[in-house]
Amino acid sequence: MKKILVAEDSSVIQNLTKKILTLQNFQITSVKNGEQVLQKLNEESFDLILMDINMPVMDGIECTKKVRNLNDEAKKNIPIVAITGNARNYTMEEFLANGINDFIPKPLNFDQLVEKVRKYTS
């Protein structure tokens, strides 16, 4: 079973993604901010990280940068997909430059969510 780490400040989106993806046979771990992402990665590895950009403590961009700078070869290359309302109007080029592989816009389209997650975990 593929393991996905969901980093999302809002418990609504967090629970939603967790429920949808669990039903699609993914194993979901959720955290609330970037720092917790790094802590989790310290303990175990994942097949994909779904990352909210706008998070307290450590936002998604910063977090992604840190993940990409990890020493562990496997962990540093975990695909990261941003889930974002894109409040800061990042372009796709900017996301890629920061190490984010792809993004799913908010409001979430559930089909798109499942499709993207499948794409990055297969």
Partner: protein
């Protein structure tokens, strides 16, 4: 004088002495008290004299003091006493008072001198001392008590040194205490016998720390006398539990020894005198201790000297004789004479010795000291007497005893009475085997091995007796010799004497009766043998008689048994067909069949038969008389009409000469057998029929599953014939979700299985769904079986499946219907409002009467339609449980005002008067849902008006019904004088869609839902609804509801809803041009403006507008932007180009709501902007602004307040999408998540706004936007997005107001979302 002198000197000395002194005179009265004494007691001499001093003594001690002194005074001895003496300060002090008698030089007693000292300190110190002292105290007490007793006792320390001897001990040893105290116990006592007091035994005592068993010690007294003491010891311990000594309590047993010695001495002296006498001579004390017995006595009774010394007379006398013997002795003791003293002694061997003789006694000081008795043995005489009675008794027993066992027992008991036998045997030879058996055996032996030997010896001796054929007495040595001869090994003790006599039956030796003794060789003699011989003859007689009886009984019994015990009927007849014999069964049968009792001789065997039967039987009998054995079954009908079947055998009885005089008949009642045969046939047939016509499959199989029986229906269901199936294993035909194995194990556990589903295989390989009931069959003598019935439920399952589908479809349809209803009513309401609004407008134009009539009809219909729609909407909400009660502060009087305003006109049209009262006691303000209360009120009121057209009054009252603290239950009554309602109708009045009379609906209009809705509404407001009515006279509807009393609320600007347009412009009438290609828009906006007091011209397109604006001086122009030929921007541009003198401001009307557009319009020359749909307030405000202020205002607000029409509160498409992934539960849970988080988030927004942290606010809004957008909460999302975007562009205008809109929108969501939760659950 000298004495006085000296006394005075003494007194002066005494007064100064440190002790308290007193003196008595020769009469022992204290007359002198020293100064110290008086100082101590604080009293005067006079007070103390004449025994006054005694008052100072503590009352508890008083007695002690007086007794001590009195005792001393009498003897003129020294005294010493301790007591509490009261001091001057009233405190008692312990004092030691010692008094010594004064004796003058002349030896004359002159009184006591007493010295008293205060020993309180010492006493207290004593009391404070440890338990050690207390123990010593208790030891002292023990010694004291021992001292007072006669028991010898002494105490030693743990080393065995004597520390105390009591008086009794000293007296017994005749030694002064000094001789013993301090000496070792082992010096004082010399060893004696086995239980010596040795250092070793003493140490053991100490170690055991226990009360011990007796020890014995001897003390040699002066003059070679010895004192023998048997003693027990008590260990003394100190506080630490260590052994500090032993107290020994002894008993002087020297006396007993002395007696023995005396006895021995006397014995020697008297021996010669009496030894030659065969009489039993004894001398005994009044206590019964023997002083002397002669040799004959010893021989007779078997005791030796040692034993005699321990004996008392009473020990020798059997209980039965004790009281009489003692009484006789007492008589003699009193000096009376008894000529013939008779008693019984028990010998050492337990033999009773009857004695008779004389007893006299020595009397000293009036009491007997020594008895002398001379007895002679009268046992033989007594025995003879008893034997006499025994002979008689046994002879009697022989004739009366019902069985031999009782005889044997009685014989033994009688014999025992006179001979004291403990070992008795009756040995009988078995007639056939010749083996000896013991029908009766009594022995004192207990060991099985001994008993076994006894039996073999008894057999041996019985054989020996047979050989000798005479009564025998055999002694131990004889027995041993006989045993040796017969090579019988002996291992246990042998009888010392054995007596045996042969028992003869019919002149042949049949057995031996014997008894023997293990104790006394002389126990029995030849007289006893005679007795036994006699008994034997009696037993022989008895045995003979019993044997004869038995023979007789067995023969006749055997015959009778055969004859009677059989269940067969047996009889015999002679040549004249008369009964010669019959058994009871036959007699009973005849009684039963014909009600007659047969009798022997003379009665014919068919007297009682009907002629046909007589003939039948006669034929049979005759055949038998001809020598034939006849067998047949006969059937008779008994008195009760029951058919009786008999199987009959006729046997000719051949006499020795071959002739036949009699026939014996044996008949057997076989009716039951016959009947059960028939019943069995019937039931088998019945079962077979059921079995054959069974539609389900009945099967039976053994415990391994092998089918043993199956109903023929198997061919119809499975295509197999029964034959094909029988013998197969059941799992070849059957499978279920459980394995066969588990089915069987469940069966074993529960004994039966009900309704379990299984699949059977048909012959052509199809599956057949079956429902099975199986049980275990237990039948006696049959192996375990399983039987069951399988029913084809294929069709049932299919039907169920179809039913389920149909039900689901129906449910789904119902849900869809509900949603459809809810949505449709909502959707239809909007155009209906448009229609009604327009109708109103048409009404305000000039119409002829006909047109007005039509219009009124249309309007009425429309309104009815709207009511219906509203009702349906309400009801569907209520039924879905989605009706919420929203309580707000309400002035109830105002509510009733509103009601009145609403209905007064309608009432007056209906020629009905409407009145209402509110109880004066009610407060003004309540917390309640006014809309709902009003709804119920309206429903009831409009009904009342409808149904009482032209019939007087409608009277509405509002009163308090109940009160629970601040919560009031209010009751409203609406009384009409209408047509009333019948009883039957009352019942269904409040049900959905049930108006009392359908014709009424037609006549009076309405959906019939009003009351049902009202009922639900009142229920949801904590109230009830009801009606009482008299048909023809009117009805009173009432309802109750809960309302909380509150203070008058602050005036709040509640949002205006559908407020009537007020006439704003009255002084100066604005002249307005309205340009719009859409007719409806034109009319709506125009209507609003006209109502507000404006004058309005309309233009349908830009060109008309350009023309008109040149012709008229308009104050304001409202310009639609999207128009087909020229759009509003273009038209405006052209108008502006005209450069009119009276150029009016041109205000754009558009559905475009984007900020950018606004800018574009303004840039294009438009003066202002309002968004569509047009709201009355907004458009009027615009006119006011431009006419009065000549400037635009709050454009942004107006714009922001508008939400695009097509946005939904919750877009169900999104929810459906979501439920596709996780079903209805997920939708609900996610919405709940959102509700919770959004609430927090909004609170955060408020806080952020308060501290003007726009970044936080924006961030919160961003999250809210994402979340609400994701969940399709569109209207809310729209508001949130608007504000977020502005903040992003750093526009901070009226943020608070916008946030309030967001809140309102959130409230809107909260109120509605549950509707959608239920609604989105259909997709899977």
């Amino acid at each position: 004088m000298y004495f006085l002198e000296s006394e005075k000197t003494f007194q002066s000395l005494a007064d100064n002495a440190p002790v308290l002194l007193r003196m008595t005179n020769s009469n022992n009265f204290f007359y002198y008290f020293s100064k110290q004494w008086l100082k101590f007691t604080g009293k005067e001499v006079e007070e103390e004299q004449n025994n006054g001093w005694i008052a100072n003594i503590h009352e508890e001690d008083l007695n002690d003091v007086l007794v001590t002194m009195d005792l001393a005074f009498k003897r003129r001895k020294k005294y010493e006493v301790t007591y509490r003496l009261r001091r001057y300060d009233k405190k008692y002090r312990w004092v030691l008072d010692t008094g010594i008698p004064r004796v003058s030089s002349l030896g004359k007693f002159s009184g006591y001198i007493s010295a008293t000292i205060d020993i309180t300190e010492r006493k207290l110190a004593e009391e404070a001392e440890s338990r050690e002292k207390a123990l010593l105290e208790s030891e002292k007490k023990l010694q004291k008590s021992l001292n007072q007793s006669k028991i010898l006792s002494l105490t030693t320390n743990s080393e065995g040194i004597i520390t105390f001897c009591n008086e009794a001990f000293l007296k017994a040893t005749r030694k002064p205490a000094g001789d013993l105290m301090g000496k070792s116990l082992f010096e004082v006592f010399q060893p004696y016998g086995g239980d010596n007091v040795t250092k070793k035994s003493f140490r053991t005592l100490v170690e055991r720390e226990d009360y011990t068993e007796a020890l014995t010690g001897v003390i040699t007294l002066d003059g070679d006398e010895i004192l023998i003491i048997r003693f027990s010891s008590i260990i003394l311990k100190n506080a630490k539990g260590q052994v500090i000594g032993i107290t020994i309590v002894g008993e002087n047993i020297t006396e007993r020894r002395k007696v023995r010695q005396e006895l021995e001495k006397t014995n020697a002296q008297l021996k010669e005198l009496f030894d030659n006498s065969s009489d039993l001579i004894q001398i005994f004390t009044s206590e019964g201790e023997f002083r002397f017995v002669n040799e004959a006595w010893k021989t007779k009774l078997g005791y030796n000297d040692e034993e005699i010394s321990q004996l008392k007379l009473t020990d020798l006398i059997p209980k039965d004789y004790q009281s009489s013997t003692v009484e006789n002795l007492n008589q003699i003791g009193r000096g009376e004479r008894i000529e013939k003293f008779e008693t019984v002694f028990i010998s050492k061997f337990g033999k009773n010795i009857y004695v008779s003789g004389r007893v006299n006694c020595t009397i000293q000081d009036g009491s007997p000291t020594e008895f002398r008795g001379i007895f002679y043995d009268i046992t033989e005489r007594i025995r003879a007497e008893k034997a006499q009675s025994l002979y008689y008794k046994i002879a009697n027993l022989t004739t009366t005893s019902s069985n031999l066992d009782a005889l044997y027992r009685n014989v033994f008991e009688e014999l025992n009475k006179i001979l004291k036998i403990q070992n008795f045997a009756i040995s009988l030879k078995d007639e056939k085997t010749g083996k000896i058996q013991f029908p009766y055996l009594i022995t004192e032996l207990e060991e099985p091995s001994e008993v076994k030997q006894l039996k073999s010896i008894t057999k041996l001796l019985a054989e020996f007796t047979f050989e000798r054929s005479k009564p025998l007495i055999i002694y131990e040595d004889g027995i041993r010799r006989i045993a040796d001869n017969k090579k019988l090994p002996l291992h246990a003790k042998l009888p010392l004497i054995w007596l045996g006599v042969q028992v003869n039956v019919e002149g042949k030796p049949a057995g031996v009766i014997s008894f023997h003794s293990y104790k006394d060789r002389t126990a029995y003699n030849h007289k006893d043998l005679e007795l036994l011989d006699f008994i034997s003859s009696q037993v022989s007689l008895a045995l003979e008689r019993k044997s004869n009886e038995a023979k007789i009984i067995s023969q006749s019994a055997r015959r009778k048994a055969i004859f009677e015990s059989t269940t067969h009927q047996i009889w015999s007849i002679d040549r004249s067909y008369c009964f010669t014999s019959f058994n009871q069964n036959y007699a009973d049968a005849l009684q039963r069949y014909y009600g007659i009792t047969p009798s022997l001789g003379g009665q014919s065997g068919f007297d009682f038969l009907v002629p046909s039967l007589s003939e039948f039987w006669k034929t049979k009998y005759d055949r038998a008389f001809s020598g034939e054995i006849v067998n047949f079954q006969s059937q008779v009908t008994d008195l009760k009409g029951n058919k009786i079947w008999r199987d009959v055998f006729l046997n000719p009885i051949f006499l020795p000469d071959g002739s036949i005089e009699e026939i014996s008949v044996i008949a057997n009642d076989i009716t039951e057998k016959k009947l059960s045969e028939v019943a069995l046939q019937e039931s088998e047939e019945k079962f077979r029929n059921i079995f054959e016509s069974f539609q389900d499959i009945y099967f039976r199989c053994d415990a391994k599953g092998k089918i043993t029986m199956i109903s023929p229906s198997v061919i119809e269901l499975l295509g197999y014939t029964s034959k094909e199936v029988i013998g197969k294993n059941i799992d070849e035909l059957f499978s279920s979700s459980d394995s066969i194995h588990s089915v069987f194990s469940k069966l074993r556990k529960n004994r039966r299985l009900r309704n379990f589903e299984a699949t059977l295989y048909t012959k052509d390989g199809k599956d057949l769904q079956c429902l099975c009931n199986i049980r275990l069959v237990y039948r006696r003598n049959y192996p375990l079986e399983i039987e069951g019935v399988a029913r084809d439920i294929t069709t049932l399952i299919r039907t169920n499946e179809e039913l389920r589908k149909a039900k689901e479809l129906a449910e789904r349809s119902l849900k869809i219907k509900e949603r459809f209803l809810a949505n449709m009513s909502h959707e239809i309401r909007t155009p209906m409002n448009g229609i009604i609004g327009m109708l109103d407008l048409i009404g305000s134009t000039h119409l002829d009467q006909e047109q007005s009539e039509y219009l009124r009809t249309i309007k009425k219909s429309s309104e009815t339609l709207l009511t219906i729609l509203n009702d349906i909407l309400d009801l569907s909400k209520i039924e879905a449980g989605k009706m919420e009660i929203r309580k707000r502060p309400v002035n109830l009087r105002g509510t009733l005002d509103k009601l009145y305003n609403l209905f007064s006109q309608q009432a007056s049209i209906n020629e009905t008067s409407l009145q209402y009262t509110v109880a004066k006691s009610l407060p003004d303000y309540f917390l309640l849902d006014e809309t709902r209360v009003l709804q119920v009120l309206s429903n009831l009121t409009s009904n009342a008006i409808k149904f009482s057209k032209g019939r007087g009054k409608i009277y509405i009252s509002l009163n308090e019904h109940k009160r629970k603290g601040d919560i009031l239950i209010l009751k409203v009554k609406i009384k009409d004088s209408g047509i009333g309602i019948s009883k039957e109708d009352l019942k269904k009045l409040f049900d959905s869609f049930s108006q009392v009379d359908n014709s009424m609906t037609k006549k009076f209009g309405g959906t019939g839902l009003g009351l049902a809705i009202s009922k639900e509404l009142t229920k949801s407001m904590g109230g009830e609804i009801g009606v009482y009515s008299t048909p023809g006279l009117g009805s009173t509807f009432w309802f109750t509801f809960e309302a909380e009393i509150i203070e008058q609320p602050e005036e709040r600007n509640l949002p205006l809803t559908d407020e009537a347009i007020q006439k704003v412009f009255s002084k100066k009438i604005p002249y307005i041009l309205l340009v719009d290609d859409n007719d409806v828009n034109r009319k709506v906006a125009g209507h609003i403006l006209i109502k507000a007091g404006c004058r309005v011209d309309f233009a349908e397109n830009g060109d008309d507008a350009i023309q008109m604006i040149q012709q008229h001086q308009y104050n304001v122009v409202f310009m639609d932007i999207q128009m087909p030929k020229k759009d509003g921007v273009q038209v405006t541009r052209e108008i502006k180009l005209l450069n009119l003198d009276h150029q009016p401001p041109i205000i754009a009307m558009t559905a475009y709501s984007m900020e950018e557009d606004r800018k574009k319009f303004l840039d294009s020359g438009l003066d202002d902007y309002i968004s569509k749909p047009i709201q009355a307030k907004t458009i009027i405000q615009k006119v006011v602004d431009w006419i009065e202020n000549n400037k635009p205002s709050e454009i942004v607000v107006q714009k922001m307040a508008e939400v695009p029409d097509d946005l939904k509160i919750v877009n169900t498409l999104v929810l459906d999408e979501l439920s596709k992934y996780g079903g209805a539960e997920m939708v609900e849970s996610v919405l709940n998540d959102f509700l919770k988080e959004a609430q927090e988030s909004l609170a955060n927004c408020r806080e952020a706004l308060r501290v003007s942290n726009y970044e936080v606010l924006r961030s919160e809004l961003h999250t809210l936007k994402g979340n609400s957008g994701t969940l399709g909460i569109e209207r809310f999302a729209w508001y949130v997005t608007q504000l977020e975007q502005e903040l992003k562009r750093s526009i901070y205008e009226e943020v608070e107001k916008k946030l309030a809109q967001i809140d309102a929108s959130f409230d809107e969501f909260k109120e509605n979302y549950k509707l959608f939760v239920g609604a989105s659950s259909t997709s899977s």
